[in-house]
Amino acid sequence: MEKRERPIKVEANFREILPLLTRHKVRFIVIGGGAGIAYGLARTTYDVDVVYARDAENIRNLAAAFQARDPYLRGAPPGLPFRWDEATIRAGLNFTLTTTLGDVDFLGEVSGGGNYEQLLPFSKELDAYGVRCRFVTLEKLIQLKRAAGRPKDLEVIAELQALLEERRKLESNA
């Protein structure tokens, strides 16, 4: 019988990625499943999604933060001459990567939210893994999911809205 391939290790490695970005002074906002978890979403997620600021200093810091983590384009055939450096980040915008720390999406812009500066008023600082980082607000997260328009997000939007209702109930009872 043909042997099946060993299951790929998949995890959204917030434990290492959030402190790493913070140590390198990268300005970023966590969106996607990670932001959902921060607010109490009870779902799995397999990558870390962040929107990063596109100024020169931040691009330099982002390049340095992951240079030693073997970033590679997720889903691309092996062997491409991909380099994770300032030039690559400046020439591109949104990067979906595999790294030695797990899968991570670095987004310069996101549908329904725009770039880092546009998303900043709709974010808040929260503490996780001993570091303080920015997460998109629950309300904005729902809007981003809706703007993405993917059928797979319908369940997530329903859960996020339920979470919003539960939080509001708690706040009104406090």
């Binding site: 917030f14 978890i37 921060a38 009870a42 809007q143 339920a162």
Partner: protein, 73 residues
Amino acid sequence: MSEHNQNELPPLDEPVPADWYDPVIEAYKKDVDRTLLRENLKLTVDERFRKFESFMKAVQELRGIAWKNGNAQ
């Protein structure tokens, strides 16, 4: 349903409010386990991430067991 925002839609260049009433979303919402959400709301942000981590670890272990069993047959 009364707690939902059912006002007129905002202009096209503005996103609809997060609590906008959408019958499709409402249909999905019936299957949401709110007890899990309420439990999570009692935790700190850090505790929520650690709970997620331990759940993902369990998923990974199950996937590994399933793989071993599949190859043993």
